[in-house]
Amino acid sequence: MDKILEIKDLKKDYKNFSIKDLSLTLDRGYVMGFIGPNGAGKSTTIKLIMNLIRKSSGEIKLFGLDNIKNEREVKERIGFVYDENYYYEELTIDKMKKVIAPFYKNWSEDTFNRYLKDFDLDKNQKIKKLSKGMKMKFSLAAALSHKAELIIMDEPTGGLDPVFRREIIDILYSLIQDENKSIFFSTHITTDLDKIADYITFINDGQLVFSKEKDEIAESYSLVKGGLELLNSESKKDFIGIKRNSFGFEALTDKKQELIKKYRDKAIFEKVSLEDIMFYTVKGENL
């Protein structure tokens, strides 16, 4: 398959935090949800992909090209949306467009104007006067107006109300009907990914937990509910995180099929959400 994004053994060391040997791959035409709690290293990874910060070691390839050696070529094909507005606040939408557009060979004025219309954005409005949701829509319009093949989004829905969030997700949903486009979407609001993600990559404390197809996650992960008598030092190894309560325990496992056979009718197996996976993985056994 045509690999759009390849990260191999990526490391970035800070004083109190580091990204450790991160590896992942995204193929053309797919959407990857990049999840993890706050401070897990999602934004750092995106900054490394965009060459905004220096990596300590490892390899990042976009469209098969090194992201630093071929910086211009790869960025020509990327649309970016960040978690905050980094555009020049004093400028109007139109002036900001005049700054951005000449950098892209494939900039389409018609596409940009169509998005402005669809998003109800006034091009004479100063960026600082826009609400957070409108700023996000402007970012999206800019990211989608130069025929980008990969859209990189860093928490685009964070801090937005449910209406705006739904709108953004719907826009992305319509976007992925084009099989040539891929989306790398970081978020800690995992429900945003239910509708659009094909793959989920989960990082915690700078380390990769998994990078899998969404369906594969549903097959292997499960919430297990049972009595406390089932818990012993041996059985605890089957669980990623365990929560005890007065009725028994609730735990996350990634060995669903194996445990269904093992516990049969002694435990209940429930469908797990990405939020459950994140919660139990981060909290571990100490609940």
Binding site: R54, E84, Y86
Partner: protein
């Protein structure tokens, strides 16, 4: 690179910034009352490009807008070279405007003359030398952190320029008289300055590349 220079000019020349610059220019013009119109314009030619670049750096830094620029199809080297080249282009544009003003004043019979090319070149040399010190600090530390250093540098420049223009010795004119013709000293001065400017840009690139945005 031309897009980056265009960007710097576009963000610096907003309505309020232009008004502020005009007022500041008039202010300088008034407080430098004791010296000739030509010298005062020369003084402005040296100050205004710094002012415009200062605004551009502050806008890149404020709101971390440089992250947007660095996410566009540009290399780090281009960001640096565009600032160095932009400084010279702005200086050229400002001197052209000032020369035009002088021409108009001459047409109205004020008989001031225009600024000679070698004096302009000396101003250019001066700007390049100050920029060579100032820019690496910006690229290493970001605008907000390097602000104190650069404010002190600009105060120093202001005092220096003021003393050049107002002293009895009239140092700039002594220098310009010495370098009046295209002689070996003049050529050497220009060449060494260009070399320093280039070395400064290389230092800036290396400092910038080690910085996390």
């Amino acid at each position: 690179m031309i897009n980056l220079i265009r960007k710097d000019i576009l963000i610096a020349l907003t309505k309020w910034n232009v008004i502020t610059m005009i007022f500041l220019s008039i202010f300088y013009f008034i407080i430098l009352d004791g010296i000739s119109v030509e010298k005062r314009l020369l003084f402005l030619a040296a100050i205004v490009p710094f002012f415009i670049m200062q605004i551009s750096f502050s806008f890149d830094d404020r709101n971390k807008s440089i992250r947007v620029i660095r996410s566009l199809p540009v290399r780090a080297e281009e960001v640096i070279y565009s600032k160095y080249l932009g400084m010279m282009i702005i200086f050229a544009a400002v001197t052209l405007v000032l020369q035009a003003i002088l021409l108009v004043l001459n047409l109205f019979g004020l008989n001031i003359g225009i600024i000679s090319w070698h004096k302009l070149l000396l101003s250019g040399v001066f700007i390049m030398l100050v920029t060579s010190i100032s820019f690496p600090a910006y690229f290493k530390l970001s605008y907000s952190k390097s602000r104190i250093f650069n404010i002190l540098l600009y105060v120093f420049i202001f005092i220096m320029l003021n003393s050049f223009f107002t002293s009895d010795m009239d140092m700039l004119y002594s220098v310009s008289k010495y370098l009046d013709k295209v002689n070996i000293y003049f050529i050497l001065l220009v060449l060494v300055t260009i070399l320093i400017y280039f070395i400064s840009s290389i230092i800036s690139i290396n400092l910038y590349k080690t910085r996390d945005l």
